[in-house]
């Protein structure tokens, strides 16, 4: 049984501070959606609202056809995986996993059978009788995962589950989480501040800032086509140049950057261009040339990236970062022009 999670217009407050502003989010049945953002963006608050540890000041939360909004946390039937594992220190690994089944009044023999089977799936059958204190971080998180999965919840939620693990283990575990989630087809909500982690395992990612979702899309879309300046910066667009259209000639648009540099852009290549916009690109999206129709710059520090040289540059439109080819290196102090590559640029609405 897979169901969807529908968060509709929820707001949340800590005292008089509003931490979530009319947030809506749907996680389709069987989908894994990540909430991604820096600390304080409201991602954990959202998770805690769904878990029932916080109550929204307005809005509704539905899981399938059940309204969770006012339901006590222990009746919500959600599998939770915590950052610090949150295993019961006084119970054996087996009893930890069987805990949820016990609450569901499953008889002892069946309980043990199911818990053992789940431990087997996470590769920890040999540790059933140990106390959690005797396990490594990775093993603990596997137990926590087994404990959340064994109750076969309609919704799984992860709160920064890999943050306490070392880099290598993080990658292994996220693959494992994704496999288990896929195999069970469990609708999942995953909270993290790690972009690589979110992008690698999610069907869709919601990038959050100051209690709002800035963009909710597939990782590929977020990475290539950010919808606004915040998301563009978040996914690593180093250059955001505010531009103003000066003249239009059919599909050709002449736009001016701060300081007076004029670029001629084709709507056929860049898509529709409003009168005021932000030209956003990564360092790879600006080619470094001796001459041409681009932004004149003075080259600063050059660093070697292996696949290209990266230049810090100064222009009348501010500091820009661009990658130049290895074939024709420039030196610090050279004058050059930066020419935007249409396929690697985004035309964004101006920032408020």
């Amino acid at each position: 049984m897979t169901v969807s999670l529908d968060i509709d217009n929820i707001a949340a407050h800590y005292g008089s501070t509003q931490v979530l502003k009319d947030l809506s989010l749907s996680v389709k049945a069987g989908e894994l959606v990540s909430l991604l953002g820096s600390s304080g963006c409201g991602k954990t608050t959202t998770l805690r609202l769904v878990a029932g540890f916080l109550t929204p000041t307005s809005g509704t939360i539905r899981l399938g056809d059940r309204d969770l909004t006012r339901l006590p946390a222990h009746q919500r039937d959600i599998g939770l995986v915590f950052q610090n594992y949150a295993l019961f220190p006084h119970l054996s690994v087996l009893d930890n996993v069987a805990f949820g089944l016990k609450q569901r009044k499953i008889e002892p023999a069946e309980r043990t059978r199911r818990a053992k089977a789940m431990l087997d799936r996470v590769g920890l059958s040999d540790f059933a009788d140990r106390l959690p204190g005797a396990l490594s971080g990775g093993q603990k998180q596997r137990v926590a995962l087994a404990r959340a999965l064994v109750i076969e919840p309609p919704l799984l939620m992860f709160d920064e589950p890999l943050s306490n693990l070392d880099a290598k283990l993080r990658v292994d575990m996220r693959v494992e989480i994704r496999k288990l989630q896929r195999a069970n087809g469990t609708t999942s909500l995953y909270v993290t501040h790690d972009q690589e982690e979110a992008f690698s395992i999610s069907d869709r990612v919601a990038i959050m800032n100051a209690g709002r979702i800035m963009q909710l899309d597939a990782p590929e879309v977020l990475y290539q086509r950010p919808a606004n300046a915040f998301v563009a910066r978040f996914v690593g667009f180093e250059n955001l140049i505010p531009m103003t259209v000066k003249a239009r000639d059919g599909a050709k648009v002449s736009a001016e950057a701060p300081g007076g540099a004029v670029l001629t852009l084709s709507e056929a290549e860049f898509g529709p261009i409003p009168d005021r916009f932000v030209l956003a690109t990564r360092a790879d999206g600006l080619s470094v040339q001796h001459e041409g129709a681009g932004i004149p710059v003075e080259l600063g520090l050059r660093t070697y990236l292996g696949r290209a040289y990266q230049y810090e540059t100064r222009s009348s439109a501010g500091s820009l970062i661009a990658n130049g080819s290895l074939a024709e290196p420039f030196t610090t102090g050279d004058r050059a022009v930066l020419v935007p590559k249409p396929e690697q640029c985004c035309i964004l609405k101006p920032e408020a």
Binding site: A51, G52, P72, A73, F88, P89, G100, Q103, R104
Partner: protein, 262 residues
Amino acid sequence: MTDRIHPLLAVFAGLVFIFLVGPLVIMIGASLSDTNFLTFPPRGLTLHWFTHIFEVTAFKTTAITSLQLAFAGTFLSLLFGIPAAYALNRFRVELPSWLSTVYVLPILIPEIVFGFSLMKSVTIDSGFPVGLTLLIGHALLVLPYSVRVVSASLAAFDFSIEEAAISLGSPPLKTFFTIVLPNIRAGVIAAFILAFITSINDVSVSLFLTGPGISTLPIQILAYMEQFFDPTMAAVSVLLMLLTVGVMAIVEATLGLTFLTK
């Protein structure tokens, strides 16, 4: 760095040891003295004063009162102290920071003042019976130990463990007993012992709250001493000491004493 102990440190350690153990040795010696006054070193050896304790009925009745009071008072203090400690830790962010200080007031206020104010407000103004006032007094006196020691355990407790249990379908109250309590067990036992010993030994508060027909052992020892200056008091003290040692031995054997310092 060397492993050798500095001579001064050895001297200080020795002095501390003598000051801690010396009085106990003197008391044990005095309790065995075959004289009808307190003296050390003992002159002659006798266990007479130990048997004498059991001939003084007041000692027996007050000892029973003291034990009842210590058990009931400690129990009450834990009954209110554990939930208070839980709330203080669980809602640390939401609660004002001065609130936790309120629970240690009984040890911050001079015991004499505390005892007097209880006598004035509870016994005299409210007209509560002496026994009940004594119980309330002792429960309040030891409440700081319950709150503080249990709090120390809860401070090390990760509340996401509780949330994990709730998310798995365990109702909050049940979760407290099956998940939280077992993990702060050491703190609760330590709180019990500290509170119990404090209550058994208390003089200042009991002094104001005991009345006609009801008294505690320490008060009785005091009263006895005013009339008779014989080694019986030393013998009673030795018995009290042995009781404490016994409790500690049981704790050491079952839990290990290290939890007291954790």
